[in-house]
Symmetry: C2
Subunit: 474 residues, 2 copies
C-alpha cells in the first residue's frame, strides 16, 4: 500500500518546484466519464517539463506516496480514477503540450505527453502528413494517455494500434530517473523493448512525458462505401476479397448492425441513413489512396466482384467528400444512439476474426436466455474488435435489468474467453477489469507482469491498483 501524503510531504514537494506547479482539483476532472467513481487526489501537480516530473516522482518515491498520471481523463476503465486507498499526487500533463519537433522528411514528430490528440493530428496535417490515430475523444484526450492505454480507434486495420505509431519515448521512472528514449529510428535492436512495455502499462511502470510518433503520407484521395451484407460471415468474406482487390488502400472496415440503425431511427430520426430499407447488417469501407489511383472505381470494382460472388446485395459509393462524411456520420453516431437508448452492459472485446460469425449469434442466444434484451454489435471488424453492447428490448427500461447486469457481463466475457478472445480489446484494464484480468489472463503471464511491476516500481507508487491489484489490497 502507498502512504498518505502528509502536510509536511506536500510542503516539501511545493518547495522543490517553481511556483505555480500545483493546483486544487477542478470539478469533475477526476470523475469517471461513465459516472461510476470519483478519483481522489492529495494535490494536482502541473509540471512544465520532464525534470519537474522527475522531481515529483523522486520525492513521492522517497515517501512512498502514490502517483496517478492524468491525461485527458477520457479513459473508460477507471485507469485514471484512484477511488480508494490514500489520495495520490495526481500529475496532470496539461502544461506539457508542446509539439517539440516535426520531421516531415522522416515521417516523424516529437510531442509532449499532454498534447491533445487533435492538435497532434493538426500538426501533422500542417506539414502534409497524417497521424492516423483517430477516436471519439480526440478533441480532449491527450497523447500520453493514448500511449499509456495503447488506444485503438478507427484506423487500426491499416495503421495499427497506438504502439505501432510510436518510435520512441521519454519516461520518468518510479524513482524519478529519466529514460531519454526519444529515438526516431525504424530499426533499433539494442536491447529489450522497454518502449512497448511502457505503452499499454497504463501509468503503472513509468510516466510518459514525451514521444516520437510516426507520420504517414496523407492519402491523396479518399472515398467510402456502405455495402449491405447478409450476415457477419459475408462481411468477413468481403473483407478478404477487399484486401485482395483494393488491399493496400483500406483505411477502415466497420461492421454496422441493423439494431444500431434502429437506435438511430428511434432516437436521431433526422440523421440521414444510407438505405431506405434498413438492412440487418452492413459494412462501411473507407479507402485512402495515392495520387495515381481512383478510389471510387476501386470500390465499384470491389462491389461488382462481391455482387457476383453473392457477398453483397446493395451498396452506395461516395461521389464526394460530403457524401463520405455522411456515411461516417452514421457510424460515428452509433455510440450516441446507444447512449440514448441506455445500455445494460457494454463490452469492448476482440475475437479471432474467423470465429466472429459463430460468436455473435451464440452470444445473443445466451443473453436472451437471461432476459428480454437486444444486442447492438458493431465495431472494427477488420481488427476483430467488437463493441458488443446489451440493451433492454423495446419498451423496457434498463433499470429493470439491474439484477442481471453482472450475469450479462460474465456471460459475454466467459464466451469471449472460450472463443480465444480478449475482454479488453482497446480500452485497457484500469481499475475496472482487474478481476477480469485475474480470471482470464494466462497465470504465467500474470506472474511475469507482477515480477516486472516489482522490478520497475518496487514501492508500488505508480498508479497503484490499476492493472494489477495493489500489494496488500484484497
Amino acid at each position: 500500500m502507498t502512504n498518505a501524503a502528509t502536510a509536511e510531504f506536500l510542503a516539501d514537494l511545493q518547495d522543490a518546484l517553481p511556483k505555480g506547479r500545483f493546483r486544487a482539483v477542478k470539478a469533475g476532472e477526476l470523475d469517471d466519464p461513465r459516472g461510476r467513481h470519483v478519483g481522489l487526489a492529495a494535490v494536482v501537480a502541473t509540471p512544465h517539463c520532464v525534470d519537474e516530473v522527475s522531481t515529483i516522482a523522486r520525492l513521492c518515491h522517497a515517501a512512498g506516496v502514490g502517483i496517478v498520471p492524468l491525461g485527458g481523463g477520457t479513459g473508460l476503465v477507471l485507469g485514471q480514477v484512484a477511488h480508494s486507498g490514500p489520495a495520490p499526487v495526481v500529475i496532470s500533463l496539461e502544461r506539457m503540450t508542446a509539439i517539440r519537433e516535426v520531421y516531415p522528411s522522416e515521417n516523424a514528430m516529437v510531442v509532449e505527453a499532454g498534447a491533445i490528440l487533435h492538435d497532434v493530428q493538426a500538426a501533422a496535417e500542417a506539414v502534409d502528413r497524417l497521424f492516423p490515430l483517430s477516436l471519439a475523444s480526440e478533441g480532449s484526450c491527450r497523447i500520453g494517455g493514448n500511449l499509456a492505454t495503447n488506444a485503438g480507434g478507427l484506423n487500426v486495420l491499416r495503421y495499427g494500434n497506438t504502439r505501432d505509431l510510436c518510435l520512441g519515448l521519454e519516461v520518468v521512472m518510479a524513482d524519478g530517473t529519466i529514460w531519454h528514449g526519444l529515438k526516431r529510428l525504424r530499426k533499433d535492436n539494442t536491447g529489450y523493448d522497454l518502449k512497448n512495455l511502457m505503452i499499454g502499462s497504463e501509468g503503472t511502470l513509468g510516466i510518459i512525458t514525451a514521444a516520437t510518433l510516426r507520420l504517414f503520407a496523407r492519402p491523396s484521395k479518399t472515398a467510402a462505401a456502405v455495402f449491405v451484407v447478409e450476415d457477419p460471415k459475408s462481411a468477413i468474406d468481403l473483407l478478404a476479397m477487399a484486401q485482395a482487390t483494393v488491399g493496400e488502400g483500406i483505411s477502415a472496415f466497420e461492421l454496422i448492425s441493423g439494431v444500431g440503425l434502429d437506435f438511430l431511427t428511434e432516437t436521431l430520426p433526422d440523421l440521414r441513413q444510407p438505405f431506405e430499407v434498413r438492412p440487418d447488417w452492413c459494412v462501411l469501407i473507407d479507402l485512402g489512396v495515392s495520387a495515381e489511383a481512383v478510389p471510387e472505381e476501386m470500390l465499384l470494382a470491389l462491389f461488382e466482384k462481391a455482387l457476383a460472388a453473392g457477398l453483397v446485395s446493395d451498396g452506395v459509393i461516395s461521389q464526394s467528400e460530403a457524401q463520405r462524411q455522411e456515411f461516417w456520420a452514421v457510424r460515428e453516431h452509433i455510440p450516441v444512439g446507444n447512449r440514448n437508448i441506455g445500455s445494460i452492459s457494454s463490452h469492448d472485446i476482440s475475437i479471432p476474426v474467423s470465429r466472429i460469425p459463430d460468436f455473435i449469434p451464440e452470444g445473443i442466444a445466451k443473453l436472451q436466455a437471461l432476459g428480454d434484451v437486444r444486442v447492438n454489435c458493431f465495431g472494427h471488424l477488420g481488427d476483430g474488435n467488437l463493441h458488443y453492447n446489451v440493451f433492454p428490448a423495446k419498451g423496457l427500461d434498463r433499470k429493470d435489468f439491474d439484477d442481471i447486469r453482472a450475469a450479462v457481463k460474465k456471460t459475454v466475457h466467459d464466451l469471449t474467453h472460450a472463443y480465444e478472445g480478449s475482454v479488453s480489446a482497446e480500452h485497457g484494464v484500469g481499475r475496472l477489469k482487474v478481476e477480469d484480468l485475474e480470471r482470464y489472463q494466462d497465470p504465467v503471464k500474470l506472474a511475469a507482469m507482477r515480477a516486472i511491476k516489482t522490478a520497475l516500481d518496487p514501492k508500488g507508487i505508480l498508479n497503484s491498483g490499476a492493472v494489477l491489484r495493489a500489494a496488500g489490497a484484497t
Copy 2:
C-alpha cells in the same frame, strides 16, 4: 555465473525426457558464421514439444545450469555462441518445426519456433497469403531465432520488423513455466506487452517455442525499378515523393552505392548491371499492388515526376518478373561482392533518415583520415538502416588494416551515436555488442533492462552473457 553441468545433472536430464532427445554437437553448428568464436555445449537437447522444453528449463533452473536456445545458427552477433563460462545446455528447436495451424481468413498462422523461415513463407503462399519477412539466410534461419532477434530484412518499410509480424507467442520461462500466449488478436489490451518484451530479447528472458504470425494479402502484381540519383539526399527526397505518389504499394526502397557496383564489376563480372555507365548512387524500388493497379505505370509516373523535379537522371523499370529478379539479383549480390573484397569492419547501423545525407560523407572523411579505405554504404534506406562497411582501397589487403580495425569500428559507432542512431539496427546485441550497449545505451534503460532480467530470470541461466553482461562477469 551459471553452474557447470555435472555428469549427475546430465543423467537426471536424460532420465526426465523420452529417449532420443539429446545428441552430441555437430561439427560447425555452434560456430559463429563469421568465424570469430566457437560455442560451447554440455549437451545438445532436441525437445519435440513445449512440455519437453519446459522440463529441461525446470531442471536447469533448479541446478543453475545455463541454457542457450539454438535456431538456425545464422546470427551475426554471437547471440547463439556461448564461447566462455561453463558449457550450457543448448536447446535446439530443430525438432519443433510444425506449421500448427493456418487461418487464411484471419491472415494468421501458428508455427513452431524451429520452422525454417522459407518453409513459413511457403506455407503462407500455399493459402495465397504472404508472410513478408525476407532476409538473406531465409533458407536456414528458424522463425524462433528471427523472433528472438527481431530480425529486419528487405520489407521492413512496408511490413515492419519481425515484432510487427507477430500476434502471439508460446514461451518457456526461466523456471520452466509455460506462457500460453498464442492469441491471434489484432487488439488485446489486457496487461503488459510481454510479447514484445520477449521478441528481441535474444533468448535471455524466455525460450520462444511457437508463435502466431501475421499474414498479408499477396500483392497481385509486382514491378521494380532502379533509378539513378545524384546523392543520398536526392534518394531521400525521392522516397518522400514515392510515398506520396505510389505510397501504399512500396515494398522496398534500397540504396545502392557505386562502390558496391564496382565490387560486383571487380569480383562478379558476369552479373548483369542495370546501367552501362556506373552511377555513383542508385535506388531499387519494389512495388507490390492489388489487382486494380498497374505497377509499371505507377513507376513510370513516379519517374517522370522525379525527373521533372531533378531528383533522378536515369532509370529502368522492369517489364517482366524476370527483369525484376535481375534488378534484385544486383541488390542481393552486394554482400557477396563485399565478401569477395573482404571488409576491414562491417556495421549494421541506423540513422534518422533526414540526417543520412550528412552522415555518409562525414563518416567517409573520418575513416579516410584513419587509412586508405573505401566505404560501401548500402541498405534499407526507407528504414534508415545502412550497412556501412569499410574496405581497403583498391590494391591493398585487409590484413594491412588490422591495427586500425578497432578505431574504424569506434569511429563509425561514435558518429552513429552522435547522429542519434543505433549501433545495432537489425542484427541485435548478442555477445559481440555488449560493450557497445554499455557505452551507447541510455543508462536508465540499461538499469531497467537489468531489473527486468533479474525479475524474469533471477538465476541468470537464460543465454547468459548475451545482451547483458553475466552477473559476476567482467
